[in-house]
Amino acid sequence: MNDDLRELYQEVILDHSRHPRHFGALAGATHSGQGYNPLCGDRVAVYLAVDGGRIADIKFEGKGCAISQASASLMTDMLVGRTIAEAEKLMGGFLHLVKGEDAADLQGDDRERLNVMAGVSAFPMRVKCATLAWHTMKSALEGGAAAKTE
């Protein structure tokens, strides 16, 4: 089997995509955002409960490819409990990582957990799948205009 493919479709990714964490709607959300990738039809909605500058809870709903669903699931897992400033830093690092750019801002445990997505960088046509949820999260935090990745 092709190495790049093995790297892309790791067990962790497939597991996240099949058993997404934090899936569903969130009663009492303070922020939400809608994301859509018109190229493949992937959709994602994220719901956030922010309390005192900290992300107290996250949920997401969506439909799409393994990469986009896994990425959304992983994101919710990693962002819950963080401050908004921390979340933004992580988002920036993630974008660098999946584009194959220098992701020096990602370190330690964060780096290790997000590394499962690094394989995406070998598939330029799939980067947008990986970033959809993250862009949507960003727009939710910024006030909720629909995110998109054309």
């Binding site: 092709n2 790049d4 479709y9 493949c40 039809g41 799939r126």
Partner: protein, 415 residues
């Protein structure tokens, strides 16, 4: 006697692989298996050579020049129009308007023919299998002028019910816009019947022939169709060119679309008068070199026994169709009788993009997505499908590579 023999034992068609240099390239070390010709076909060397020779020997701008090269270029450009006329069996060469592509050909009808004729509440009949290029121009008329879009459904197998289409045509219908062949389902519509029934109610028909013209001979006169749009790059021709066939009377009654050089009779500060069709609709320097390439592509396609090509493509399709029957996790979308060589499917538990990514690493190029047919995706309740499309250069071995790739995708993505 000979003719009969030929019918009994059709020529075995040998895919002309050597004409397509790109087909011998490797992708990630694997031979390219190009099954995306419905998106765009590869170009044979005959097309590329014709364009190169023209650029090296006869190139100049057309129409306005007295000099030799300008005459040569004009002749080549107008000869291409004649080639297209014969390809479609149009009555006159000046029923052919060259456009930048199939999309522009349809927009030309929307802007120049229908827009000045349609009022709020008037209806346009179209089908759910249309490509966005045969939807969005009509949505413009809805948004801007209050036209009403009347959608005709397809049957579950993807076939079009001509009765349902006929029933949708009412007193307010101004146009029927329908694909000759669906780029997702492969369905070939009963165009002649549709036209006859629409005409019986006094309604003209535009056929989107972007796929239809590739896979069978088109006879616009036999079909009696009012408008027929097609695109060069799917016909083994260059990008940047397409054509609209329209009955002469329609063309004459159409107002200009783009304004500029070539399309005028006289321009003053205070008024402007327009040239006769087709010049009226060809503002600016046209795709001159592309017209030469397009003519070469039509000649290329016509150089084969087109029924043999059709049989070849049908055999590839059948082979693929049969092979995927064993995949119980795969649902084929579009199974109409007599359909063209396009296999679309979704697969349970695997997203189209993931499957396409795995196939790609095996060298197999397919499309994954909505194929610019979102209303059709909606109709079948899918966000996207995988589409493998077969062209005259494809082989049975390439179909096998697709099937093999699907096995792999299943193994990787559902492990």
């Amino acid at each position: 006697m000979m003719a009969q023999l030929k019918q009994v034992r059709p020529t075995v068609f040998e895919p002309p692989r050597a004409d397509f240099e790109i087909l011998s390239r490797a992708i990630y070390g694997k031979p390219l298996v190009y099954l995306d010709s419905a998106a765009s076909a590869q170009k044979p060397r005959q097309v590329v050579d014709a364009m190169n020779a023209f650029a090296a020997n006869d190139y100049a701008n057309v129409h306005r020049g007295v000099h030799y090269l300008s005459a040569a270029a004009t002749q080549a450009y107008e000869a291409a129009r004649g080639t297209m006329q014969r390809f479609l069996n149009a009555a006159q060469a000046d029923e052919i308007v060259f456009t930048k592509g199939g999309t522009e050909a349809i927009n030309l009808v929307a802007y120049s023919w229908l827009a000045p004729r349609i009022r709020a509440g008037d209806e346009i009949v179209l089908t759910v299998m249309e490509h966005h290029s045969n939807i969005v121009p009509w949505h413009f008329l809805r948004e801007r002028q209050g036209a009403v879009l009347c959608w005709v459904d397809v049957r579950d197998d993807g076939s079009l019910d001509a009765d349902a289409l006929d029933a949708a045509i009412g007193a307010k219908t101004k146009l029927v816009a329908v694909a000759h062949m669906s780029n997702v389902l492969g369905t070939v519509t009963p165009l002649k019947d549709i036209v006859a029934r629409a005409h019986a109610k006094g309604v003209p028909v535009l056929a989107d022939g972007c796929q239809g013209a590739v896979h069978a001979t088109v006879d616009v006169r036999g079909l009696d169709v009012d408008f027929y749009a097609l695109t060069g790059h799917k016909l083994y021709g260059p990008t940047g060119i397409g054509a609209l066939y329209a009955k002469r009377a329609h063309l004459e009654a159409m107002r200009p679309f783009n304004g500029g050089g070539e399309m005028i009779r006289e321009v003053t500060r205070d008024f402007v008068t327009y040239a006769d069709p087709p010049a009226r609709f060809e503002a600016g320097t046209p795709p001159i070199i592309e017209s030469v390439g397009l003519a070469a592509a039509l000649d290329y396609v016509s150089s084969f026994d087109r029924n043999a090509v059709k049989a070849h493509e049908a055999a590839l399709y059948s082979h693929a169709r049969e092979a995927v029957r064993e995949f119980d996790w795969l649902r084929v979308i579009g199974d109409a009788a007599g359909k063209g060589a396009i296999l679309s499917f979704e697969s349970a538990g695997m997203h189209a993009h993931d499957v396409a990514t795995v196939l790609d690493r095996e060298g197999v190029a397919v499309r994954a997505g909505h194929h610019c047919a979102q209303p059709l995706m909606e109709r079948y309740g899918v966000a996207s499908t995988i589409r493998a499309s077969f062209a005259l250069y494809n082989t049975r071995e390439e179909v096998d590579a697709l099937i093999e790739g699907l096995h792999k995708a299943r193994k990787i993505l559902t492990r």
